[in-house]
């Protein structure tokens, strides 16, 4: 793999293992290697970064003799999926421009202003989706030998970036979008909101799904929090053709916003049966 686009680095590693002469040696070794895998991977990773940094610095100084002066460095720490890596980033002063140059940053993109690497948090995101950020933190804590885990707020903040990559809406290029998903269902529920830790009232969480056939797999066509059915209807109309059949729980705004002139609106019969006693109650019965 030695070509111009690849570097090959040889690392020599000598490991000394002192072990007790004991019947439970197997389990002692398992635990020791579990702890060691984090140390070994992190040490090798740091050694590779230091070698790359040294090479970049040497190349820079060789190509411009006398131009760069050593200006110390700064320690950076990263929490990686296999443990913590710590490296002293070397700093050079460019005498011509007066700017500071970081040799390692010239050859690779380093994660800026984050300590926890995205890949280290990834196993926790699934549990955050299923259960809670608190449980997700506990799961991450149990995965590493030193029991370190990000705080719940770090996990929550970093999850926002991950979740922004998840789009439940269908790909516009997927099939014939104009004629797709003519069988639609719409519903909503209330959700309590907060703003900067203070109560921000209640908003409507709304969801529109559709299928290609009456009982086909469902696809999310729109979802929102705090938006009116009219706004949702406009977005759905822009994106998809008119619905053939719309099923809803009987909320008056839904057919008004989502049903076109040729759409057949079916009221959910479960809700219809449940709603009749309430209508009678409103009339004083």
């Amino acid at each position: 793999m030695a070509s111009e686009s690849y570097w090959t680095l040889r690392v020599e590693l000598v490991v000394e293992i002192t072990m007790p002469r004991h019947a439970s040696l197997f389990y002692v070794l398992v635990l020791a290697f579990w702890r060691f895998q984090s140390l070994s991977a992190a040490s090798l990773f740091t050694a590779v970064l230091e070698a790359v940094q040294e090479r970049a610095r040497a190349q820079l100084q060789a190509s411009h003799p006398g131009r760069f002066r050593d200006k110390g460095g700064r320690v950076r720490r990263w929490r990686l999926p296999f443990g913590e890596a710590c490296i002293r980033l070397c700093k050079l002063l460019d005498k011509e421009t007066g700017h500071v140059v970081w040799p390692l940053k010239l050859v690779m993109d380093l994660p800026a202003r984050v300590r926890w690497c995205e890949a280290a948090l990834l196993p926790g995101y699934r549990l955050a989706v299923i259960q809670s950020f608190r449980q997700s933190r506990k799961a991450l804590q149990g995965m590493v030998p030193d029991g370190s885990a990000p705080s719940v707020s770090t996990l929550h903040r970093r999850f926002q970036g991950f979740a922004s990559q998840l789009d439940p809406l269908p790909d516009p290029g997927e099939g014939d979008a104009a004629a797709s998903w003519p069988y639609r269902l719409a519903d909503g529920t209330k959700l309590k909101l907060q703003h900067k830790g203070f109560d921000a009232g209640v908003a409507d969480m709304r969801l529109v799904v559709g299928s290609r056939t009456p009982s086909g797999p469902l696809e999310v066509l729109d979802f929102s929090i705090g938006e009116s059915w009219e706004d949702i209807g406009q977005r759905v109309d822009q994106r998809f053709s008119q619905a053939k059949v719309l099923v809803s729980d009987g909320e008056e705004h839904i057919p008004r916003a989502l049903a076109g002139p040729d759409t057949r609106h079916q009221r959910c019969l479960v809700h219809a049966r449940r709603g009749l006693p309430f209508a009678l109650y409103r009339d004083g019965c």
């Binding site: 998840l166 703003h195 469902l218 009221r267 959910c268 009678l280």
Partner: protein
């Protein structure tokens, strides 16, 4: 209603007419000044509650009679989002809603995003152990 035969048009028409008649009778029984909400409710049911039968008569196609399938998705999302004392920022709730929906409906899309974060499509780095020897020092 789900067991109705779409080919038996006469039976379907009879059922539709009988249902409409029944709703109209209920409406007539209820005086407008005493039962304004109930009357409006029943009137709505004549239009929207029988759409299934009309669609079946026109197209021979059986559509859904309830929102149960959507409620099933919503219940999975609500299980995560709604709990006593739990409040969300709008952005946080939107992101969690999107994540829950993708996780519930498109697990393969969720796995693809995870794979992208893990860098599975990045140019490969090969790490080989070229020599491994063990020797006793004591």
């Amino acid at each position: 209603m789900a067991r109705l035969d779409p080919g038996d048009r006469a039976a379907l028409q009879d059922l539709l007419a009988a249902s409409e008649r029944a709703f109209a009778e209920i409406q007539e029984i209820l005086p407008e000044d005493a039962f304004p909400h109930t009357r409006r409710y029943v009137l709505g049911l004549i239009e929207d509650g029988l759409a299934y039968l009309r669609h079946l008569l026109d197209t021979g196609e059986k559509v859904l009679l309830s929102t149960n399938r959507l409620e099933s998705i919503l219940s999975r999302v609500v299980l995560r989002l709604k709990r006593i004392g739990r409040r969300w920022s709008v952005t946080g709730a939107i992101h969690m809603l999107a994540a829950c929906l993708v996780y519930a409906l498109h697990p393969q899309r969720y796995a693809e995003v995870e794979a992208a974060v893990r860098g599975e499509h990045c140019p490969g780095v090969s790490i080989l152990i070229t020599s491994l020897k063990a020797a006793w020092s004591t």
